[in-house]
C-alpha cells in the first residue's frame, strides 16, 4: 500500500504542470507544493513513461481504470486521457482487440450491476435508515433482510420437493402403502365433528387445531406415497427427509458464507483496542448524515463515545489501583452476582417446564373457548414473560457488578442469548418427556406404540403446532408492544411537557435486544421445520411485515441511540448467535429422526421404526455400483485419509495466518525504526551545518 496511487519508487518524475503549460499559478490545493521537502512525497505524481509498460503488464485493465483512482483535478485527468488517446501506441491488433473487449465488458458489467440493484430488496429504505440512525441500526435491518431471503428460498426448496409432489399425488389419487400395525396406535381423527361455532375458526387459526391441523401445514397430512412408474419414481417420505436435511445444510452454508465476508473485515482490522481514538476521530463522522437534527444527534453521539472511552480509561486506572482487600471484595461480589443471575435463569426455566406440562395436559383434555386458547398459549406466554423480566433483573445485577461499560454490554448479551435459546430447549425437553413418557419407552402409556398415543395420536403435528404458536405469538407480541407501548409513549413525551415525561424520553431503538428476537424467531422455525413444512413461508411473511412495522416505529417513535453498536463486528456476532440457534434446531432434528418412533396414525413415516430407517431401505433399490461407491465413501479407508488431509490443510492455513501476523508486526516495527533513523540523520545534519557555520565565522573573523 503506497501513498501514491500511481507508480511508487525510483522512476523519473515529470511534473505535468510544467511540461504542458498548465496554469502554474493556480493555487490548486491538490497540486500545491508544501513548505517542506519531505512533503513532496505526498504529491500525486503522474509518470509519463509508464503507460507503455502498463499496457504490457496489465493488458485488459488498461489506463482508464487507473485514471479514475488518481487524486488529480478533473481537468488534469481529462487532459491526460486526451494525451493517452492521442498516443496511438504501436500495439498489435490482438492487444487492441483485448482492450476493446475489456472496455465493452466493463460497460456490460456496469449495466448488469445497475439491473441487479433494481432487484435488491429495500435498498433505498436501508440507505435512508443508515443515514438517519447509523450503521448499528442499519445492520439490524440488513440482518432482517438476509433472514427474509433465506426463509423464502428455503420455502421454495420445500415447496418444490415436498409440497408440490404431495399435492399432485394426492389429486391424482396415488395409493397409500399400507401395513399391519397395532390398531390402537393408528387411531387419528383430527377433523372436528358436528357443527363448529364460528369463532372456533378464529381460535383454530391461532392455535393450529381444527381445520388447520389436517392440512398441508403440518406433518400429519402428508402421505407415505411411493410412486414408481416406468421411467419415473418418486418417494415422498425420502423426499421429505432429504429436503429437511438439505434445508439445514443450505442454511448453514449461507450463514457461513455471509460470516466469511464479515470475518475477513474483522481479521483485517486486527486488534480493535489499538486505534480506538483515531477511529472515532477520523472515521466516525458519517458524511451521508442528512438533516440538522440528525447531525446534532451524531455530534452528541461522538461526544458521548469519547467521554465513555475516557471514562473507561479512568476506571481501568482506578481498578489497577485497588488494594488487595478491595479486589477480593469485588471479585466475591461478582461471583455471587453470577450465581444470582444463574438462579434467576433456572427459575425461569422451571416456570417454562411447569407451564408446558400443565398446558399439554389441559389441551389433551380438549377445553374449548378462550380459556382453552389461554392454556394452549401458556408456554409461549411464560417464555415471553421470562425473556422480558429476567434481562431487566440482570441489568440491575450488572449495576452491582461494576464491570466496565463494554464488558457490561457483552455480559448482558451473553446472558440474554443463553436465556432465550435454552428456554426454547426446555420447552422441547418438556414435550419430549411427555411424548416418550420420560424416556422410558416401554412403560406405561408408551408400551403399545413406543410413544404416548393416548395424549398424542400424532405427536409430530403436536410439536409443529407448538412451534407455530410460538411464531405467531412472537409476532403478535411485537405488534402489541408497538401499538400499546411505543406509540403512546411518543404521544405522551411529545405532548406532555412534564419533567417525568422528559426524563423517560422517547423510545430508543435497542439493536441487541431486537436482534435476539430475530434469532429466537428463526430458531423456532428451524426446530419446527421438520414438523411444519410451511413454517418457513409463514416466517417469511412474518419477517416482511416485521420489517415494515419496525421501520414505521423507528421513524416515528425512536430517537437514535446514544450508545452505538459497532456495525462491523456486530454483524459477525449476530451470525455467530444465529449459528447457535441452527445448532439447537439441528440437535432436535437429528434426535427426532433417529430416536423417536414416528406416529403410526399419520405422516409419511408411519410404518417405519424411525424416520431415518427409510434411507437404508431405499438404499437397496439403488444399483450395485452406486451402493458399493457409497459404502466406500462411508468406510474407514476413505474417511480417515480425508480427515487427515483436512487436518493438514487446516494446519497450513493457521500457519499462514500466523506468519502474516508476524510479518505485519515486523513491518510496523521497521517503520518506527526508520522514523527514528530519519530524526537521527536530521540532527546530524543540523550539527554538521552548525559546525560548518562556526568554522566559517572563525575563518572570517581571523582573516
Amino acid at each position: 500500500m503506497s501513498s501514491e496511487p500511481q507508480r511508487p519508487g525510483s522512476r523519473e518524475v515529470h511534473d505535468y504542470t510544467e511540461e504542458y503549460g498548465y496554469h502554474s499559478d493556480q493555487q490548486s490545493l491538490r497540486l500545491r507544493r508544501g513548505p517542506s521537502r519531505e512533503s513532496n512525497q505526498n504529491q500525486p505524481q503522474f509518470d509519463w513513461s509508464s503507460p507503455h509498460e502498463e499496457e504490457d503488464e496489465e493488458g485488459s485493465s488498461g489506463p482508464p481504470r487507473d485514471l479514475r483512482a488518481t487524486p488529480l483535478p478533473m481537468a488534469v485527468k481529462r487532459a491526460i486521457r486526451q494525451v493517452q488517446q492521442m498516443q496511438v501506441p504501436v500495439v498489435s491488433s490482438r492487444d487492441s482487440w483485448k482492450r476493446k473487449n475489456a472496455k465493452s465488458l466493463r460497460k456490460l458489467k456496469d449495466s448488469g450491476m445497475g439491473f441487479l440493484s433494481f432487484f435488491s430488496l429495500w435498498s433505498k429504505t436501508l440507505q435512508k435508515i443508515g443515514g438517519n440512525f447509523g450503521g448499528g441500526v442499519q445492520s439490524y435491518f440488513l440482518f432482517l433482510r438476509f433472514l427474509v431471503v433465506l426463509n423464502f428460498v428455503s420455502f421454495l426448496l420445500i415447496a418444490g420437493f415436498v409440497l408440490v409432489p404431495s399435492i399432485v399425488f394426492r389429486s391424482v389419487g396415488a395409493a397409500l402403502v399400507n401395513s399391519t400395525g397395532q390398531g390402537a396406535c393408528m387411531v387419528y381423527d383430527p377433523n372436528p365433528e358436528g357443527l363448529v361455532v364460528f369463532y372456533n375458526y378464529f381460535l383454530d387459526l391461532l392455535s393450529g387445531t381444527g381445520f388447520m391441523e389436517y392440512s398441508y401445514l403440518f406433518y400429519g397430512y402428508y402421505n407415505n406415497t411411493m410412486v414408481e412408474d416406468q421411467n419415473f419414481s418418486y418417494n415422498i417420505p425420502l423426499a421429505y427427509l432429504f429436503t429437511t436435511v438439505f434445508y439445514f445444510v443450505f442454511c448453514l452454508i449461507c450463514i457461513i458464507a455471509r460470516m466469511g465476508t464479515a470475518a475477513r473485515v474483522v481479521v483485517a482490522t486486527g486488534s480493535s483496542t489499538v486505534g480506538d481514538y483515531s477511529m472515532i476521530v477520523f472515521t466516525s463522522w458519517d458524511y451521508g448524515c442528512l438533516g440538522d437534527r440528525a447531525t446534532k444527534l451524531k455530534q452528541q453521539n461522538i461526544h458521548y463515545q469519547l467521554q465513555v472511552d475516557l471514562e473507561e480509561e479512568s476506571i481501568k486506572k482506578r481498578a489497577a489501583a485497588l488494594t488487595l482487600s478491595q479486589k477480593i471484595v469485588l471479585y466475591s461480589l461478582r461471583v455471587s452476582m453470577c450465581f444470582v443471575s444463574f438462579g434467576l435463569i433456572i427459575a425461569a426455566f422451571y416456570g417454562i417446564f411447569a407451564a408446558t406440562e400443565f398446558s399439554q395436559v389441559k389441551s389433551g383434555q380438549g377445553q374449548g373457548g378462550i380459556l382453552g386458547l389461554l392454556f394452549e398459549y401458556l408456554p409461549s406466554i411464560v417464555i415471553t414473560a421470562g425473556n422480558f423480566v429476567v434481562p431487566l433483573l440482570c441489568d440491575q445485577i450488572a449495576l452491582i457488578e461494576r464491570y466496565s461499560p463494554s464488558t457490561t454490554v457483552i455480559v448482558a448479551l451473553l446472558r440474554a442469548v443463553f436465556l432465550r435459546l435454552v428456554s426454547l430447549g426446555v420447552l422441547l425437553f418438556t414435550l419430549w418427556r411427555q411424548i416418550t413418557c420420560e424416556g422410558a419407552e416401554n412403560t406405561g402409556d408408551c408400551k403399545l406404540c413406543q410413544y404416548n398415543h393416548l395424549l398424542y395420536p400424532c405427536w409430530e403435528t403436536r410439536v409443529g403446532q407448538e412451534m407455530y404458536k410460538l411464531t405467531l405469538f412472537d409476532f403478535l407480541i411485537n405488534i402489541a408492544v408497538l401499538v400499546l407501548v411505543e406509540f403512546p409513549r411518543r404521544m405522551v413525551v411529545d405532548n406532555w411537557s412534564n419533567k417525568l415525561a422528559q426524563w423517560v424520553g422517547r423510545q430508543e431503538f435497542v439493536v441487541p435486544a431486537n436482534v435476539l428476537g430475530l434469532v429466537y424467531g428463526q430458531t423456532v422455525v428451524w426446530t419446527g421445520a421438520l414438523f411444519c413444512p410451511l413454517l418457513p413461508l409463514i416466517n417469511t411473511l412474518k419477517f416482511i411485515l416485521l420489517f415494515y412495522f419496525k421501520k414505521i416505529t423507528l421513524f416515528h417513535n425512536c430517537r437514535p441511540a446514544l450508545k452505538t453498536f459497532r456495525s462491523t463486528t456486530s454483524t459477525f456476532f449476530f451470525l455467530v448467535v444465529l449459528v447457535f440457534g441452527l445448532g439447537l434446531g439441528t440437535v432436535v432434528m437429528i434426535y427426532s429422526l433417529s430416536e423417536i418412533r414416528p406416529s403410526m396414525g399419520c405422516g409419511p413415516f408411519r410404518f417405519f421404526p424411525s424416520m431415518w430407517s427409510i434411507v437404508p431401505r431405499s438404499f437397496h433399490n439403488l444399483s450395485i455400483i452406486t451402493q458399493e461407491f457409497l459404502f466406500f465413501i462411508g468406510s474407514q479407508s476413505f474417511s480417515i485419509p480425508l480427515f487427515a488431509l483436512s487436518c493438514v490443510v487446516m494446519c497450513y492455513f493457521v500457519a499462514l495466518a500466523s506468519v502474516y501476523g508476524k510479518s505485519v508486526a515486523l513491518l510496523r516495527a521497521q517503520i518506527k525504526l526508520e522514523g527514528r533513523d530519519k530524526q537521527f540523520l536530521v540532527k546530524q545534519i543540523e550539527m554538521l551545518s552548525r559546525r560548518q557555520q562556526i568554522l566559517k565565522q572563525t575563518a572570517g573573523a581571523s582573516s
Binding site: P71, M279, Q299
Partner: protein, 187 residues
C-alpha cells in the same frame, strides 16, 4: 433515453465517464443538480466548455452538504482556487470521490486533505483539535480535547515526529472497516 441530450458532446460524456465513477445517466443528473443551484449562472450548453464557477455559498447550501460540519473544508479541497468556488468539473470530481465506488486509497487521500486545516500536508495537533471541535460542536472541555489529541497521535504516529503524515493516516485507515461507508455522500 437515447442520445438526444445537447448539454455535452459525446466525447465529453465519455471522458467524464472515464474520469469519474459515474455512469452517463448519473453525470447528467449531477449536471441538473449543479444547474439547479444557480440556473441563471449555469448555461445549458457545455459543449464549448464555458468557465462557470459557483460561489461557495451556493455549494454549501446543498441539502447533502449544508449540515456537514466539514462542508467548507470539502469545498476548499475540491475547488481549484482553494476558496470553495467550484466549477462543474470540481463538482463531479467531489461527488465521484465521495461515491461508494471510489477506492479506499483515493478516499483516504482526500480525507487527509480535508482534515488538514492549515494545508501543511501534516495533521498536527492544531488540525486535530479543530477536527475534534467540529465533530463534537465544541462541547468537550479543553482537558478532554488535549487528552484525545494526545491519544490519537500516540496511536497513529508511526514515524514519531509528533504529527500524522499521509502514510500514517493511510496505515490507520486500512484498519478502519467503517471508513468506506462513512466517507460517502449519496446523491
Amino acid at each position: 433515453m437515447g442520445n438526444k441530450q445537447t448539454i455535452f458532446t459525446a466525447q465529453q460524456l465519455d471522458s467524464y465517464q472515464d474520469c469519474t465513477y459515474f455512469t452517463r445517466k448519473e453525470i447528467l443528473r449531477l449536471f441538473d443538480r449543479y444547474r439547479d443551484l444557480a440556473p441563471q449562472l449555469v448555461p445549458l450548453d457545455y459543449t464549448c466548455q464555458p468557465d462557470v464557477k459557483l460561489p461557495y455559498e451556493l455549494i454549501g447550501s446543498m441539502p447533502e452538504l449544508k449540515d456537514n460540519p466539514f462542508r467548507q473544508r470539502i469545498a476548499e479541497v475540491f475547488s481549484d482556487d482553494g476558496e470553495g468556488n467550484m466549477t462543474l468539473d470540481d463538482f463531479l470530481d467531489m461527488f465521484s470521490v465521495l461515491s461508494e465506488m471510489a477506492p479506499r486509497d483515493l478516499k483516504a487521500y482526500y480525507a487527509f486533505k480535508i482534515y488538514d486545516f492549515n494545508n501543511d500536508d501534516f495533521l498536527c495537533k492544531s488540525d486535530l483539535e479543530k477536527t475534534l471541535n467540529k465533530l463534537t460542536r465544541n462541547e468537550l472541555t479543553e482537558d478532554e480535547v488535549r487528552m484525545v489529541c494526545e491519544k490519537v497521535i500516540d496511536e497513529s504516529d508511526l514515524d514519531n515526529d509528533g504529527r500524522l503524515s499521509l502514510e500514517d493516516f493511510q496505515t490507520m485507515i486500512v484498519r478502519a472497516p467503517d471508513f468506506l461507508s462513512t466517507f460517502h455522500i449519496r446523491i
